[in-house]
């Protein structure tokens, strides 16, 4: 890799040295700037999800408001300003002629894949091998999805790419060499029952009319709704991991990691290696309870490499002297003298006096995922609730086909399954989508297909065992106070929502209309699933495919000017 190239950017008049290829958020966090935006009530917000979902890292870049710092890549000097989420003053603007749908370019690929993560890419490779004409779109600046996030800066000398990066790079490379058309930086913001999908990037808006569609949009992290979860410096585990794995930046020097599941352990290792002080790694589950050993053995049989990697993470964390706590759930966060203080409860007794209070500059929360199934649901694909995993799953046949003809789905957007399962499922769907288009399977392909089915079954067993080790129920708003925010965008409190529920207002749509919850820029991604569970619990029912908000286009905000044809700045 070449020498790191620094680019000077400006933030509210202050000069900051950034690395070419990192995001604005990474550069600002590295400069210790965690407060990026201000809410209408005056509260400070900053990078939270790190993946373009929460819409709280909004800044003004070169005069253009409402830009997500976590998605904006630096490739030239830019001027950045903190933003009021209530809105900025408009730029002077000349009026452009209105357009109609007929002015939108139409593209008709054989197979359109939405999401360039492990699932989408492996399907692209399998289908392309058989001759299918494949287009893969992804909103992120670089293909790879979450698991295969690539390093985007040239400063990898000190911390070269690891196996996970390299595996991903090989998959991306294979897809490109086979002639898969990958378009990064391209958001699919609408899917319509007419079979049209609309995508926008910095150059144009395109309407895709594919013969087959594969939706592989992954997952995002569930909110951990406790007092203080909206403070700047409190971010998801995934956000911190993206800072490190893509830009080789640390969220802060002193970090607390709290959550449920192995991703937190991986982050603790990575940040430690990167030179951060991980003050504590707190796991909600009792990972060393009776029975865990049998599950560990089962995992060892199915995916020994993953177990060994995990063992290696644990060893490194221990060696670095990171203190770990089991059965500990983060219950509230306070900002005191410029530091964040985290309180924990004992998951069994719910008492706060079991654990000491920890202080750090950043807190990473990783309490599970929500499937990014907005497009699938907007299209009307059937879903069902899985009470054991406490999440909505897409109803699929063994080939990954949804209830709607011509639409396939795989990976974490269909229900959490992990990267390995997404890889094998992608292969299966890739082959089956190809045969449905009339492409034939050679004997070799047939062998590969049945091998993929076996591998997928093995990975599912692995995931099952992993979930038994990390078994911990959804937390929802159980640890919130009445004045804890549930809807980050519209600043609606848990108490406000509870009042409606207790007044027998049990329709999620009516609660939305009464409180404005879910009416903000993140479109209810964090409050929606929690409210859905709160209502179900109150009614003594389990959620179902219709008890959440019905997603509608745009599935992510889209600027009006970006719909207009013609080159943009």
């Amino acid at each position: 890799m070449s020498q790191t190239e620094n680019i000077d950017i400006e933030f509210d008049g202050r000069k900051i040295s950034a690395r070419r290829g990192e995001t604005v958020a990474a550069a600002l966090v590295n400069a210790g700037i965690l407060h990026l935006s201000t809410t209408p009530s005056g509260a400070q917000r900053g990078i939270y999800c790190g993946m373009g979902v929460c819409q709280e890292c909004l800044v003004v870049i070169d005069g253009k408001p409402n830009q997500r710092a976590c998605m904006a890549k630096i490739d030239k000097p830019v001027t950045v300003q903190r933003m009021s989420l209530a809105g900025t003053a408009p730029r002077s603007n000349t009026s452009a002629a209105p357009i109609t749908i007929d002015d939108i370019e139409v593209v008709e690929p054989e197979l359109l894949i939405i999401g360039a993560g492990p699932g989408g890419l492996s399907a692209a490779v399998a289908a392309r091998k058989l001759g299918v004409e494949v287009t893969v779109l992804d909103e992120r600046p670089v293909a790879g999805g979450q698991f295969y996030k690539q390093i985007t800066v040239d400063s990898a000398n000190a911390y070269p790419a690891d196996n996970q990066h390299l595996e991903g790079a090989r998959l991306i490379d294979q897809a490109v060499r086979l002639g898969v058309h990958i378009e990064p930086d391209t958001l699919i913001w609408g899917g319509f029952q007419s079979g049209d999908y609309v995508a926008t990037n910095s150059k144009k808006t395109v309407c895709y009319k594919p013969k087959r569609t594969l939706i592989a949009t992954g997952a995002y992290e569930r909110g951990h709704i406790v007092p203080g979860w909206t403070l700047p410096g409190v971010m998801t585990t995934g956000a911190a991991q993206t800072l490190w794995r893509s830009a080789r930046r640390l969220p802060a020097q002193k970090v607390i990691i709290a959550g449920n599941g192995p991703l937190n352990l991986q982050l603790a290792t990575e940040l430690t290696v990167g030179g951060a002080e991980v003050v504590v790694l707190a796991e909600a589950a009792r990972t060393f309870r009776a029975g865990a050993f049998a599950d560990a053995l089962a995992m060892m049989r199915t995916s020994p490499d993953l177990v060994l990697t995990a063992a290696d993470y644990l060893r490194q964390v221990k060696k670095a002297g990171v203190s770990t706590r089991n059965n500990a759930v983060l219950s509230r966060i306070e900002a005191v003298n410029g530091q964040l203080r985290a309180h924990f409860i004992n998951a069994t007794t719910r008492r706060e006096d079991t654990f000491e209070v920890f202080a750090a500059d950043a807190i990473c929360l990783g309490y599970g995922f929500e499937p990014s199934n907005e497009l699938l649901r907007a299209l009307g694909c059937a879903h069902h609730y899985d009470p054991r995993r406490q999440e909505l799953k897409t109803t699929l046949d063994e080939d990954g086909k949804t209830s709607i003809d011509g639409i396939y789905a795989i990976g974490d957007c269909t229900g959490l399954g992990g990267a390995r399962a997404a890889l094998s499922a992608g292969e299966i769907v890739g082959y089956r989508a190809a045969t449905s288009l009339g492409y034939g399977l050679s004997t070799e392909d047939q062998l590969a297909l049945s091998a993929a089915r076996k591998t997928l079954a093995r990975h599912r067993n692995f995931q099952d065992a992993l979930w038994r080790v990390y078994a911990y129920p959804r937390i929802n708003a159980d640890l919130a106070d009445a004045d804890t925010i549930i809807c980050r965008c519209e600043e609606v409190t848990v108490g406000r929502v509870l009042t409606e529920i207790e007044n027998d207002c049990l329709s999620i749509g009516e609660i939305k209309r009464r409180t404005r919850l879910a009416m903000g820029r993140c479109q209810g991604r964090y409050c929606g699933p929690v409210l859905q569970h709160m209502i179900a619990t109150y009614k003594g029912e389990i959620p179902n495919a219709y008890s959440g908000f019905a997603p509608r286009p745009p599935v992510k905000p889209i600027a009006i000017e970006d719909l207009m044809p013609g080159e943009k700045e």
Binding site: P40, V198, G380, R552, A559, I560
Partner: protein, 389 residues
């Protein structure tokens, strides 16, 4: 709607109102205040009142004039209702001691060229004769009056009596008031059919797994009215028009008026929260599987890019939501009153811009039902014209 779980269904009501939109709910409140025992039934699917844009329209909408030229005489005859209806919104806000976020911003209908300007000038003259507070504004004056309008705007017709409410706030306050006035609300309760009582006078309403008796029944079910009336052998020919809406993320206050176009479907305004609401008659469609109103890509593209053409400052704003709803009207006029062919059954349909007209229409009908002296010439609103056809 409140109510639902926990409320023991009433078996018998003096007056049953089918449909808990703006018209049905305000009517229920007035009737309860007038001493009647009122049951309000709503299927919870939400009609125009839960999805509308909250524009308080007064001047003739040129969209309707172009689409339904044969309705223009009826609309003109009823034009005087609109300023009264807007005033009535103010009275209602005061009466309920609530905050509807009601703002009398005034409305601008813009022209892009001389032809459109002249069309508006003709319309303006006619409206002035009919008593509206309207005037034409030329480009030069507009630059100071509405500086947010783009270079494409040639001139505009201004109507001082127009404004906006926030339907979310208004509906919530109105529901609360109706319940406090004594209305029993059954939400999530579809009325499958209405029939005459076999034995006695009065009517029977079939709801899932029960029958409700009522002395009198009001059809305030928006798009559901046609079928309910047909079941009684009556004609109430409401036409359902699925419409599309867009809303952007918030911006600092930019747009000071309700903005429309002389020749193209659009309404554009900014809520106090900073969000810009863009709608005005772009089509939605009914989903095949369940007839649910569903948004359209062509409407997102066409409606929002037209908005930035008129108000360039909205160009960098991102659309955060779109939705669709059903606008149910008959032939542009309000239909309010008792069917002569079936005493005890009342029609309740507002005219065009039915949210604007909602509370005032409710007041007119409440007076009829309670036998109070009417405040308007009721012959204009009779449902009998349809039955006669």
């Amino acid at each position: 709607m409140s109510g639902g779980k926990g409320i023991v269904p009433m078996e018998k009501a003096e007056i049953a109102i089918v449909g808990g939109g703006i018209l049905g709910t305000v009517l229920a409140g007035f009737l309860a205040e007038g001493g009647a025992q009122v049951l309000l039934l709503d299927d919870g699917k939400g009609g125009g009142s839960t999805v509308n844009a909250g524009s308080l329209h007064v001047q003739l909408q040129s969209r309707f004039m172009r689409m339904y030229p044969d309705q223009v005489p009826a609309i003109e005859r009823n034009l005087h209702l609109y300023p009264k209806a807007v005033n009535y919104w103010k009275e209602l806000e005061k009466k309920l001691r609530a905050d509807f976020d009601l703002k009398m911003t005034g409305g601008l209908m813009i022209a892009e060229n001389q032809d459109q300007f002249e069309f508006l000038a003709g319309k303006c003259e006619r409206e002035a004769e009919l008593g509206l507070d309207v005037r034409m504004i030329e480009r030069r004056e507009l630059q100071g009056f509405a500086p947010y309008l783009g270079a494409a705007v040639f001139g505009a017709e201004h109507c001082a009596q127009e404004g906006k409410v926030n339907p979310l706030l208004a509906n919530m306050a109105i529901n609360k008031w109706a319940v406090a006035a004594g209305v029993t609300v059954m939400s999530e309760t579809p009325v499958r059919s209405i029939g005459k009582s076999a034995s006695k006078t009065g009517f029977e309403l079939a709801i899932p797994s029960a029958t409700i008796k009522a002395d009198r029944v009001v059809l305030a079910a928006g798009g559901g009215n046609r079928e309910l009336a047909a079941g009684l052998g009556l004609a109430l020919p409401v036409v359902s028009e699925p419409l599309h809406m867009n809303i952007t993320e918030p911006a600092v206050p930019i747009i000071g008026h309700l903005v429309q176009h002389a020749d193209r479907p659009i309404t554009l305004k900014q809520f106090s929260s900073g969000h810009v609401v863009i709608g005005g008659g772009w089509p939605a469609h009914l989903r095949q599987s369940d007839k649910y109103p569903t948004v359209e890509l062509a409407s997102i593209i066409g409606n929002t890019t037209l908005a930035q053409h008129i108000v360039p400052a909205v160009a960098p704003l991102r659309i955060i939501r779109t939705w669709a709803g059903i606008n149910a009207t008959t032939d542009g006029r309000p239909v309010l009153g008792e069917f002569s062919a079936m005493p005890g059954i009342y029609a309740a349909v507002s005219g065009d811009a039915g949210y604007t007209l909602g509370p005032y229409s409710a007041k007119i009908l409440a007076d009829i039902i309670l036998g109070q002296p009417p405040c308007e010439d009721l012959s204009e609103f009779s449902p009998d014209v349809y039955h006669a056809v």
